[in-house]
Point group: C2
Chain length 401, copies 2
Amino acid sequence: MKAKKIDPFQCASIPAVFFGAGVMKNIGTAASRYGKTVLLVTGGSSLARSGRLDEIVSHLRGADMTVSHIVVTGEPSPEKVDEVTGEYRKKGADLVISVGGGSVIDFGKAVSAMMPVEGSVLDYLEGVGTKSPDGRKLPFLACPTTAGTGSEATKNAVLSRVGDNGFKKSLRHDNYIPNAAIIDPELSVECPQDITAACGMDAFTQLLEAYVSTKANPLTDALCESGLRYITDAIVPSATQGAGDVTVRGNMAYAAFLSGVTLANAGLGVVHGLASPVGGRFPIPHGVVCANLMGPALRLTVAGLVEMQDDPASHTVLDKFTRIGALFSNEVDRGKPDTVDHARRLVDTVYDITEKLGVPRLGSYGMTESDVDEIVSKADNKNNPVPLTSDHMREIVLERI
Amino acid sequence: MKAKKIDPFQCASIPAVFFGAGVMKNIGTAASRYGKTVLLVTGGSSLARSGRLDEIVSHLRGADMTVSHIVVTGEPSPEKVDEVTGEYRKKGADLVISVGGGSVIDFGKAVSAMMPVEGSVLDYLEGVGTKSPDGRKLPFLACPTTAGTGSEATKNAVLSRVGDNGFKKSLRHDNYIPNAAIIDPELSVECPQDITAACGMDAFTQLLEAYVSTKANPLTDALCESGLRYITDAIVPSATQGAGDVTVRGNMAYAAFLSGVTLANAGLGVVHGLASPVGGRFPIPHGVVCANLMGPALRLTVAGLVEMQDDPASHTVLDKFTRIGALFSNEVDRGKPDTVDHARRLVDTVYDITEKLGVPRLGSYGMTESDVDEIVSKADNKNNPVPLTSDHMREIVLERI
């Protein structure tokens, strides 16, 4: 037997995890080790309407904590971060807790980072400001209510300015990784079908792209495999007949968390390389973009790998696709995941999932053929295992208009 | 398809990882984000003799850091922790770095924890003192030179007092998990054969016991599988003809790191439940105890699981043993890891590895039949998937005298 070589790699820290239905009951205990005064960030009204917001506040107060509550709606903006930070730098807070989707988590992450420093968050935003964050922050707990972005595991907060000089930029530092992710699938059972589908496809794409990324390492491989193992049986039910099933929601929440860990450490592929210019031009939910592009991108990537089969590196990646294909056809435990058929079946499965989830095509958001060239000109392959050409990219987008 | 239920679980944070041959060159960059003044803790003379100590100090100084160097030999004692802490609380330090085996890492971990507080470490030791640590500490980087305890990933430091009122007790807090593990397999190539073998068997036992622990969760399962995948081909070569091979050492170092993560979050089994009273009575290296007990403990555990095959829980565990058995016989990729044969073959493989590594039997350290009853009376099953009886435990120890 010959030891498998592990190439040098780095992984950022992974937050503490509190996982399980009902685990939000322990939010007071989890939070109280970081201090007494909480800045609680939540999204729109659904958390309040369901009564869960009151429960969360009362769990925190039950642990003798003082709670200030902030509501964020829409995309998190630098101005809103500055407004909240300005107020609470004076009033003081020991820690920040976000309960919500990716935007709410990103907002809380940015506030926790800006509280101990001076000036505007714009000064520290990548590609916007001139200062580098030094990593100081208040402790930050992330409690996701959607299973999607994986922001509860990542070191960056995406802030947006909309309008003519609009941008989407990251505030980023290894220390901004949340101290803990408190993942209670009960919080996501009321998430609407279209959002659940889009978020789920985002997580699925992140796991799959990180898994076969040129920057993947044994640790991200292990976590991707685990996430993909749990997402396979849950992704369609979570947005259809199983939406109320906490087990299904739990599988998605677990997979989404791992998609955050792995994308941050292994990088992503051509789907995300195309999603960025698409998202910059059309207000299409990110997960919808991913869901649309994933089928054709995967088809062309697998085809490229099959052509390159003489290259041992392409073999390793093809084996990975094969393993996931086998997972979806439930054959991994019965053995024989050793043919390219499984990889091809994975491609079909991705198309099939997109179909079953009723993901709207890109054309329904106003995209036409005439937009494709500009999108492709701004796209890149990121860490895709096969470098696709502009023609390939054009084919991918055109197929989904 | 039916979503697999994930029971509620908690995982402590996982440190940032810098892995690879030569990665110690970056110690200056990694350390400088935590401050300017380093307390560097190392073990005996081998690091100095090989010239690596000078290199490390020069990498740190090259990053404009001031370095104070402390040497720890033997078991880390509370008195020595107090002595060092007393001195450096006055002199000041921004962070602590340990470069060494498990004892050196534990010592540095304890010093980093005691620096910002008052009093003796004895006040905070479990079962000795009356105070609970509040989690404050200096940043701490762990650079292992053996592949064994996994202390570079865990939240506790084991301190020992030898002699009549001797003890081995833990200083423990989630925050004591190192900020980063810097794992450079080049540091372990000179580790002697007997220590490599004992450490390797410790890591192997930790991975296997955590994997089948009653407290295992999907995240620890994924990490155990990954660690076991890399340990299989490396454990024997690492202490024999492949000792100088950085790839082999790297596989062991990677597996040992994961053994620390998983034991801390999933717990251990009867081997560790017996190793504790054995180690309390005889000065046998912990890894040697594990290596001796692992074969018979596994044999009885697998037999118990086969008897309990009507219980679905036992099936899940048996499947895990089967999967690892298949890994060792290199058959997992060719499929059919679906018979109890693989689990039985795993038992044989463990005996075989112990044999090939030339691990001395317990009797060679002075243990006799007359010691066994007392050892068994103080043993427990911990989180072993099958609760073994005292008779079983007696059989395990007797077999290895």
